[in-house]
């Protein structure tokens, strides 16, 4: 079996299964813990508490009010998160890949957006690594998970860039002919599959867990009328 066949076939199937089952298992594990019943008289009505949960999920995407932030680190985090989203979901070949497997698609953005976003994401990840290694707080908090998650996020970006196989010129613009680089494409797919396998078990799971955590605080704090 050719490497590309393997990456497109069994490796993709297994990694996708691990991703779905693993993430579901992790979330299920949380929900098997006992829920606390709160008998305190709420300051708000039930529907306001649910609204508080929703508000927290989105409000926590913005910098906090009145609290000093680590500005450069936060800006960098915004930059690479947005860049990663653009790369993953607005590049024509990626949309085609998603459409082929999930049956849904949407209009892509021009290729240069992805190229610039990929560059930004790679730079952003290296800046994030620099902070993790040099900032006293982050260095203390960091463990294997942080570095492994960093690496598996970087790999698909690097292998994707390598697929381009040529310097970028502003025009004419078109996605590269991927079929001409089967080994590189296989490596790109395998790096994505590695990320899918790792995601449910490491901190990359925050891609899903952020909503649960923010929701919990949003609901509990809305009950009290406390600050988010």
């Amino acid at each position: 079996m050719e490497l590309l066949e393997f990456a497109r076939g069994p490796a993709l199937a297994v990694s996708a299964a691990v991703f779905v089952v693993g993430l579901a298992w992790r979330i299920y594990g949380i929900f098997t813990r006992p829920a606390r019943v709160d008998y305190s008289e709420p300051r708000r009505r039930d529907r306001d508490m649910a609204a508080g949960g929703f508000r927290a999920v989105f409000a926590k995407m913005l910098p906090p009010k009145g609290v000093k932030i680590r500005g450069a680190q936060m800006l960098n985090a915004y930059a690479y998160h947005i860049a990663l989203a653009l790369v993953a979901f607005t590049f024509a070949p990626h949309i085609a890949f998603i459409s082929r497997h999930l049956g849904v698609g949407w209009t892509p953005l021009p290729d240069p957006v992805t190229y610039v976003a990929t560059g930004l994401a790679i730079i952003g990840l290296f800046v994030a690594l620099m902070y993790r290694l040099t900032d006293g707080v982050q260095r203390l908090l960091s463990n294997f998970d942080d570095y492994a998650s960093w690496a598996v996020t970087l790999l698909p970006l690097v292998t994707g860039m390598a697929l381009l196989e040529r310097a970028y010129y502003p025009a004419p613009v078109a996605a590269p002919d991927l079929a001409t680089s089967p080994t590189l494409l296989a490596l790109h797919l395998l790096s994505l599959e590695l990320m899918l396998v790792w995601l449910p078990f490491g901190k990359l799971a925050h891609a899903a867990l952020f909503a649960f955590s923010r929701w919990r605080t949003g609901v509990d704090f809305a009950r009290k009328g406390a600050a988010l």
Partner: protein, 454 residues
């Protein structure tokens, strides 16, 4: 540190600006004679009891970004990464992942994470008790919304179970269990004080009336150190013609069980007040100018009781706000400018940030807010029991410089708060630095402005 346990009640220090037990000649920061293995196992069992769904989701969600550090006065004042709020929960996170997390089989099979040792718990004692006021400012900063302060409270339960509570907190908690008050405000002392205050200030202070609409509770810090607050509240309640009482079988709202992590003690203190309120037929329970009493009764009281409480629970600032809203409290205009220090457990974590401002507005006060004010206000550094710990003094004084700078930046002539523990911390910090500012009680400020003409 020693493994021995103190047996006699420790003397209180009435002369220092900060009110706690006298500085111990020998510290006993461990209780009982359990082995290290037993302490570790007890901590794990207590951690496990507290592992609810909310705890699990929080412990799963941290991305190690470190933003919480900038919100913590102890980190900002020291620059030491160990004081990063989420790092204070590392033992809890480790126990969760190894014992209860969805991947526990992985961690156990490969011994990826070791069991938490008693030695590590001893190391964390300073981080969980001396360096955290549970003010919750870190929760504001956390992009994942993790309620770090709530988790620290749970971690303290485990520390108590392991017999690893700092000397002073254990001593005052013991005193509360034996005498009914952590700081010497026994029922006998209360009665004597009330008789003296009523006589001295010519005010009627209702004590042990069998039935009343409002049960008033007190903080032992007020009774012993700031009795003016009690006089002020009596004047206000009498002025509005309220049916009220203090009960000698349920008055002490200071709850050191909450600080030490002793759930049984916390429960006993809360239930005493709840039972007294029910016995009085009270429809409203008024909590004193005390931050953590609000958290203990307003938000945790019903949960400790196991069902909804048959009465309302109000912080005294909320009670005052209601009175001015209902036009029951005629007030004279307050001259000069004033700034307000928000007690963290009442404002940021309690949701009553607007109440004192409503009262100050009714006074027509020139309110000069501190930058930042309200929900994002900096903690005074003395909450969570920190102000009682002698060994935390230097650390707390460093953190207090943030608060002094905030007050100075407000440009206000007077400063007020509605927490006697904050007031104590201001008095002690101010005395340490020779600061010429005096923290006042909002309650006393309002009582001074009572208008004789309706």
């Amino acid at each position: 540190m020693s493994g021995a346990t103190q047996t006699a009640l420790e003397p209180l220090d009435f002369d220092a600006p900060r009110f706690t037990i006298e500085k111990p000649a020998v510290r006993f920061d461990e209780q009982g004679d359990a082995s290290d293995a037993e302490r570790s196992a007890a901590a794990v069992r207590a951690f496990m009891r507290d592992l609810t769904r909310a705890t699990a989701v929080y412990l799963e969600s941290c991305v190690h970004c470190g933003h919480c550090a900038e919100a913590c006065h102890f980190y900002v004042a020291s620059g030491d990464p160990r004081y990063t709020p989420i790092w204070k929960l590392e033992p809890l996170a480790r126990v969760y992942k190894r014992e209860a997390g969805p991947l526990r089989w992985f961690y156990k099979t490969f011994s990826w994470r070791k069991d938490i040792s008693a030695e590590e718990l001893r190391e964390w004692q300073e981080l969980l008790y001396d360096s955290c006021t549970m003010c919750g400012r870190c929760t504001l900063a956390c992009p994942m919304g993790i309620d770090i302060a709530g988790l620290v409270a749970k971690a303290r339960h485990a520390m108590f179970a392991a017999g690893l509570v700092p000397h002073e907190l254990h001593a005052v908690s013991e005193r509360a269990e034996r005498e009914g008050s952590p700081l010497g405000a026994t029922p006998k002392v209360l009665k004597e004080r009330i008789a003296w205050l009523a006589d001295e200030h010519e005010v009627e202070i209702a004590l042990d009336r069998p039935q009343a609409d409002i049960l008033v509770t007190l903080s032992s810090i007020e009774i012993m150190k700031y009795p003016g607050a009690l006089v002020a509240l009596a004047k206000i309640l009498n002025r509005i013609g309220a049916s009220w009482t203090i009960r000698s079988d349920g008055y002490e709202a200071t709850n050191f069980g909450l600080f030490s992590g002793n759930l049984e003690s916390q429960r006993a203190m809360s239930v005493r007040i709840i039972d007294a309120a029910i016995a009085s037929g009270a429809t409203t329970l008024v909590l004193p100018e005390c931050g953590h009493a609000y958290g203990a009764l307003r938000w945790e009281g019903a949960n400790i009781y196991g069902k909804p409480l048959p009465f309302r629970v109000l912080h005294v600032s909320e009670f005052l706000a209601e009175a001015v809203r209902d036009r029951r409290l005629p007030l004279k205009r307050l001259q000069g400018s004033i700034t307000f220090h928000d007690p963290c457990q009442v404002s940021r974590r309690g949701g009553a940030t607007a109440a004192p401002r409503e009262v100050l507005a009714a006074l027509g006060a020139d309110l000069r807010e501190m930058p930042p004010a309200g929900d994002a206000n900096w903690c005074c550094g003395g909450g969570g029991g920190v102000v009682t710990l002698h060994r935390a003094d230097a650390h707390r004084y460093r953190a207090f410089t943030i608060k002094m700078a905030q007050v100075q930046a407000s440009g206000a002539e007077r400063l007020a708060t509605s927490c006697s523990n904050c007031r104590l911390t201001f008095d002690d910090g101010g005395a340490h630095y020779g600061w010429d500012r005096k923290m006042e009680s909002l309650l006393e400020v309002v009582a001074e402005q009572l208008d004789d003409v309706r």
